[in-house]
Assembly symmetry: C2
Homo-oligomer: 904 residues x 2
């Protein structure tokens, strides 16, 4: 702390030497915006009517509420530095000057934005751009083609800045609102006047504008006094700003500066691409922002195309490439690399190295005495800036063109799964430009193009889990595994990611029973492997019964092996997995002519929330003779916890279930030559079958009945596992263990396909023998691939680490994410038949006469939700919302609110 204090004093001392800057600044609207902040927690955010920071938002649901999106109708670029002091601001000024002095007839509107400035007021990149661009334009023979209105505006500043500039005490980030403006007259000697005493009002703006005028607005959003990294300045000066606030400040600035308000009513639609936005970051690509989040992560939700200011000095090749890779790893598109020539020919090497990816430009060396000769330097550089501008314009057009053509190209050459192509109009194809944490960035072909945020409410087919911190970690883990291994052969081999992943799977998911991990690629293959395991185990355990089966081919056909499963369960789309499910629309002759349904499929009792109460629905088939004694409509629970309570094992329901299961097994045994050789269940919820919650008591009794008969038990946890229902494994919810369990989907945190089939040692032993032919002969090329295992390791560790997953409670489960009051309210909505919510899953079935897979009753609701920023897909007449294990309860609340509103 004493070092910080020293530094602060040092900074103040420096300020004394630059006091001159303070006098040119004026206060405008000192409304309180960011509160004082002493630690690293989030800033308290108060209502504020300032033009540029007008929306009240919480950090959590930034995605949802940022649905206003990013305007694509004009080029918008972020300028990044490969280090500090490499000349980002020179590039900004040169580029802005080049845009404004372009000989094209149309006027230009340029917004130069410096979201974060430290060392203020001594250092102000906005001021530099303001000053140098006006000089540049004046140096053009005959002046710029159009009149140019140039303004400079600083919004919020830290208390230390206020103290230094205005000698006034403040406690948080307060409006500084310093403002300057000038006009350069076009195509003749510029007439140059400053209105620095006037407020930035609509009237002054209008007076200064001619209808053909160009405009440059230079804005600093947040300024700190200390000339250090923003996170450090924010700490030193006690004013931390949350990432989401900063992002929204930027979006607001774009809206007000480039939208209708900008110039005399010229609308965005009309003006097309004669607008430009240049955002200049602070320091290097990975320099921390005010909150401590790296800037490359902080600005990621916008994913603006980028320009990287490289380094022309000794060592500059390395820092340029590293900075490029840091941006690349976060999914940024770098459209140009620019550097200041230092005589080391760095640009020659970089051009070759980056060939085919990004063009490299070298600006002339900067004169040693910058202030003297910068005008000349800009003059020398103008060709280069023009070429950069041209490249950026083309990249922007190329991007827009591609985004526009993607839907029709997709319709022409892609073949989507589970999609009737004739029912997808071109306008309905969703172009996903990127994803950040839970949010898609979706292209909208309106008003010249726009990127909107949509919450990924179907968790991309139930795979997704990362938040904005985990996503880059997963990307890095994948990159590391690719760099270290690519993919390497697995049988009889071992590599660190596979071994570590297996260790974690046994520690978390296999706890108490699992001993072996068999890797494959996806849920379907994990199930086929599980079935092969279970059958072999059964055959080994029941040798005497089956001797007739294996002895001759004839008998084999007579006594074939079957699974015991529940109607409505689903285990995958490959034939073997399909055979383990009861007939559905998926399994018809037209879909899979080879399907026969090799199972005994039982009915099952369901639980759900309706009219604010958890209740049980038990089909008559299960009730059997007990129909009269148990009145279905009366079975209510106090809470969801009561549903899962093992106290129920002692109730008459346990007897009813047991009787039904025994009777079914007995009937099958006596009327069939088939042998039941495995039980396979989806614990707790039938997912693809329609989000039906099966009574956990029923599943527990089913497992115990199979144990009695030595029938191997498979838990299909592909959807259910890895915290999807709030627990690592649903052995915790069902209170019993399987012999085999399958994991996929969330296993890699939502990155690449990987599946694991966990088995007990007994199951493994059934494959031991003296011949290779006794081994389990099933494998896929990418078995235990390094990228999958490495991302799974990061995901499993991240999800189970309380310091990273704030949803974790002390018992290692997720806290309740879905607001119980809202869930109850939805369950009593007249158009809702039933609701379930557990862990990361919320689902509601709509009242619909034509329920089932082909139902289209949810279509309108789905469209309204998408328009409201929630991307979801229905399962027949069931609408569900799914978040990740890291999503905040606040976000879930927002989702439910939007859903409730749209139910009407």
């Amino acid at each position: 702390m004493s070092r910080l204090a020293t530094l602060f004093r040092r900074s103040l001392a420096k300020y004394d030497r630059v006091g001159i800057y303070a006098r040119s600044f004026r206060k405008t609207c000192p409304r309180r915006l960011f509160s004082h902040h002493s630690g690293t927690a989030a800033a308290v955010f108060e209502k504020c009517s300032t033009e540029d920071l007008s929306t009240k938002i919480g950090g959590e649901n930034a995605g949802l509420l940022a649905a206003e999106g990013v305007d694509l109708s004009y080029p918008a670029y972020t300028i990044w530095g490969s280090n500090t002091g490499v000349g980002k601001t020179l590039l900004s000024a040169g580029l802005v000057g080049s845009i404004l002095s372009s000989s094209e007839e149309r006027s230009r509107d340029v917004l130069y934005l410096k979201p974060v400035q430290t060392g203020f007021p001594k250092d102000s990149d906005s001021r530099f751009v303001f000053r140098e661009v006006s000089r540049m334009l004046r140096n053009i023979p005959n002046g710029p083609p159009n009149n140019v209105f140039i303004s400079k505006h600083t919004l919020k500043a830290s208390p230390a800045v206020h103290q230094a500039v205005r000698f006034k005490d403040e406690v948080g980030m307060e409006d500084l609102g310093t403002y300057e403006e000038l006009i350069l007259e076009g195509s003749r000697r510029p007439n140059f006047f400053i209105n620095s005493d006037e407020k930035l009002t609509a009237s002054s703006r209008e007076r200064n504008h001619a209808s053909s005028a160009s405009q440059l607005m230079c804005r600093t959003l947040l300024a700190w006094f200390d000339p250090v990294s923003p996170h450090y300045a924010a700490q030193l000066e006690g004013t931390v700003v949350e990432d989401s606030n900063l992002i929204h400040s930027i979006l607001s600035s774009l809206k007000t500066c480039t939208g209708n308000n900008l110039r005399h009513g010229s609308s965005l639609e009309k003006s097309g691409s004669n607008k430009w936005l240049i955002i200049e970051t602070a320091g290097g690509v990975a320099s921390p922002g005010p909150s401590g989040t790296l800037q490359c992560d902080l600005y990621r939700p916008l994913r603006l195309p980028s320009i990287l200011m490289g380094d022309g000095r000794l060592g500059g090749i390395s820092s340029t490439i590293s900075a490029y890779e840091t941006l690349h790893l976060r999914g940024y598109d770098v459209e140009a690399v620019v550097l200041l020539d230092s005589g080391l020919a760095n640009e020659i090497f970089l051009t070759k190295y980056l060939q085919g990816r990004v063009p490299v430009f070298a600006l002339p060396p900067v004169p040693e005495d910058i202030n003297e000769s910068l005008s000349n330097w800009f003059l020398q550089s103008q060709d280069c800036f023009a070429r950069v501008r041209c490249v950026l314009e083309k990249a922007h057009m190329r991007r827009l063109q591609r985004l526009h053509e993607m839907p029709s190209k997709a319709e022409k050459i892609l073949w989507w799964p589970f999609t009737q192509h004739t029912m997808v109009p071109t306008g309905d194809v969703t172009v996903i430009d990127s994803k950040c944490a839970d949010n898609f960035s979706v292209f909208k072909d309106t008003a010249g193009g726009k990127l909107e945020q949509q919450f990924d409410g179907c968790a991309s087919w139930w795979t997704q889990g990362p938040d904005s911190r985990l996503q880059p970690e997963l990307a890095k883990a994948a990159g590391y595994a690719g760099g270290r291994y690519g993919h390497v052969m697995f049988p009889e081999n071992v590599h660190e990611p596979a071994l570590r992943c297996a260790e974690l799977l046994l520690q978390h998911m296999g706890k108490g029973w699992g001993r072996r991990v068999y890797f494959s690629d996806n849920g379907s293959t994990a199930i086929e492997i599980a079935l092969k395991m279970a059958f072999r185990k059964f055959v080994t355990d029941h040798k005497t019964v089956l001797d007739t089966v294996t002895s001759s081919k004839h008998i084999e056909t007579q006594r074939s092996l079957k699974v015991l499963a529940l109607s409505g369960s689903y285990h995958g789309d490959t034939l073997g997995a399909m055979e383990a499910q009861a007939p559905t629309p998926y399994t018809g002759f037209l879909q899979q002519p080879w399907y026969s349904g090799r199972g005994l499929f039982l009915d099952s009792p369901k639980v759900f929330l309706r009219n604010r109460r958890w209740q049980l629905h038990c089909p008559d088939s299960v009730l059997g003779d007990s129909v009269t004694e148990a009145n279905n409509a009366d079975i209510l629970f106090e809470s969801r916890n009561d549903v899962f309570s093992i106290v129920r094992d002692e109730t008459s329901w346990a007897d009813i279930y047991r009787a039904y299961i025994r009777q079914q097994l007995h009937f099958h045994e006596t009327s069939n030559d088939d042998v039941i050789a495995a039980l396979i269940i989806e614990p707790v919820i039938h997912g693809a079958g329609g989000m039906d919650m099966v009574d956990p008591l029923f599943q527990r009794i089913l497992v115990s009945e199979c144990r009695l008969r030595n029938i191997p038990v498979i838990f299909d946890e592909i959807f259910a596992g890895c915290w999807r229902f709030g627990v690592k494994s649903n052995t915790e919810l069902l209170n019993c263990f399987p012999d085999i369990a399958c994991y996929a989907k969330l296993l890699t945190g939502g990155t690449v396909p990987l599946a694991a089939t966990i088995a007990s040692e007994d199951v493994f032993d059934a494959f031991k023998g003296q011949s290779k032919l006794d081994a389990l002969l099933h494998g896929h090329s990418y078995t235990a691939h390094a990228m999958g295992c490495a991302t799974a390791v990061v995901a499993l560790q991240h999800f189970s680490d309380p310091s990273k997953n704030s949803n974790l409670t002390t018992d290692g489960r997720l806290q309740e994410l879905w607001n119980p009051e809202l869930v109850s309210a939805i369950s009593s909505h007249p158009s809702v038949r039933r609701v379930i919510s557990i862990g990361t899953v919320f689902a509601c079935e709509l009242e619909d006469k034509n329920s089932g897979y082909a139902s289209t009753s949810t279509k309108g609701l789905i469209q309204r939700l998408r328009a409201d920023g929630i991307y979801t897909r229905p399962l027949g007449n069931v609408v569900y919302l799914m978040c990740g294990p890291l999503t905040s309860a606040a976000s879930c609340t927002s989702l439910l609110q939007v859903l409730l509103r749209n139910l009407g």
Copy 2:
């Protein structure tokens, strides 16, 4: 060029001012090593007997010949810089000093290696370490614990260095061999003498050593005069050095300096971990080495654990993190980040950011006048250096311990596919520490531990394709896709990697026929999807025939759909894919009780090389009545090209094949209620079935017969496609098109699972309808996942780009990779039954009475090949070698030579 010249003159001018250094240097052994070099091509490499650069190697087979491996019995670290001038050499000196002054009783041997030095002789990091470490040790009260023998040696230098130092003209990288040495006496005031006039000979070394002495050797391997980036210095001074030469120089240095030669016969085995190796790189992590390859890529085959010298200055957080990510992306393990404190508390931020990954250390600020007070600085820093050393020692021990325990842990918790676990002794588990291009780095538990290179001769189950340039590109593509998308939902959506990948697949693989791309996860799923497509197409086309089938369930069972396939073909391990293959050991009741074999499986004629001639073997069943007219043994071809020639369509063989196929189909139709609804073949080669090359004429006629009957045709190109047989798609070799084709394995270049089923528009149209239930209802969670598609895009582009794939010929095929003379020689070896070679595949079947899947006859050969640096797995009695589309013909030649030698 004039700029280069200027710079060169400038450098010379600088040299004049530092001429003093020249005088202390002496010539030793001026044998010519690296030739003069004016461009960027590889240096000509001449035989040389110098101690440290003694092996004549070609760049191509560096992997194979580097089988000597990396010794793990002592800590070896590479020091990287986050930029130039961040204090790498200070860290080196401090660390070396800390090691040598450690109070532990045992003597220490430290090799400090500077592989590449520019700005020499003015700058010499070896000299700095030599000088500062001796000063440091002298400053220790009572001296170092042991006597310390310190030497400094510079090996090769550029002509400019020779000119400057020795005023002598040279043309290539020649021996400079300057040498100095001194001894510090331990535990008393050091007795300090320099033997700079003596040669480094065994006798002088021995004389100077006491048996308990520690030793420090400071070595510069290659020195250039210009103080610029090594690639630029090498260009300026006309002496480029190939990467493989540099790597081998390092390995040789390690061997001679730390092996038996080092000190009076103390062997490596005995000395344990009292040795250390510190390698200091030049500039930043991504600064180019002498050949222009980035150093982070250049040193990657060694993958030594790393220390990153971070940057404590303003902007240093960013450059440190970026440099860390650059190393991470290439699979390096960074064990410590060290930086010089500049009062900005960068270490506080970095410690937090890198928490749980790597510890961060801050050294005190360096005094402004370095020469004056460096001794004091080292004294102040010694605690920090000791902590760094301690962390590095622990990391080394942890790494070794993990490598040692991995085999037994793997045996305990992993379940390998296709592996009889009882037949894998612990010693036989291969620990793969990493992979670089075609080479595994494999841990050997001998002599304290070692990493050996093995050529991945089975291409990791036929998936692999990257060379050392493509591998980091694939890693970056995966990282980018992870950062930009993670994974996003596919149906009705489109994202750039999926669309681009589909475009490339149609352009390359679907050329001439394919219109739609259906993504899935692996070969098996691609096949199941293909079958569903084909069946629906057939049902649509044959409505009248099948009306009885679809109308009632009863009839459906009677007329089920079957495939037409070839015995010996293989299509995957899921049930649906297995059903399309003839019975094999994989399909027995114990393996898959649900298998029934739903196909008409035809025999097929095979072609192969035997006794130096390509010949045809046609089974009697195919010959039928033609047995007498066609004598099998006589069917010889002039060349492999003749086998594929379409001229053969006009021969009597075409008639024989046609007759057989027609007769089989007719027999099936008349004797069966089943309907043949699809043809599925592996074009050209039956892979898993034993590397059998099917007569392409037979497959072509089979396709045309199915066309006549309107039976959809599936090409299973999962193994065959993507240049595996030298062509993008085997439509080129078979000269006919399918309706559906499947791709996987090489599709992503060998990184993550991804599969694509390409279909014609007619096939797609068969799924159009008014209901979602008509659509193809098959999908997997990670359908078209971004990382898979993005890596596939990079791989497909790389493989098909002649500027990146030097194996490409003008017709877009790969050149012949397997030396025809060697292939012929192997085909006439007495223990070889037959040989095939095409594209990236070479296979030979050994003479063996017990051929087939369970054969163990190849065991000895496989073990000998592994000992000789080739990792391969047999297919029964077939041994195969598989490279990537980028592997050089020279490497393939080496592989064949090793194989031929081991055949005995």
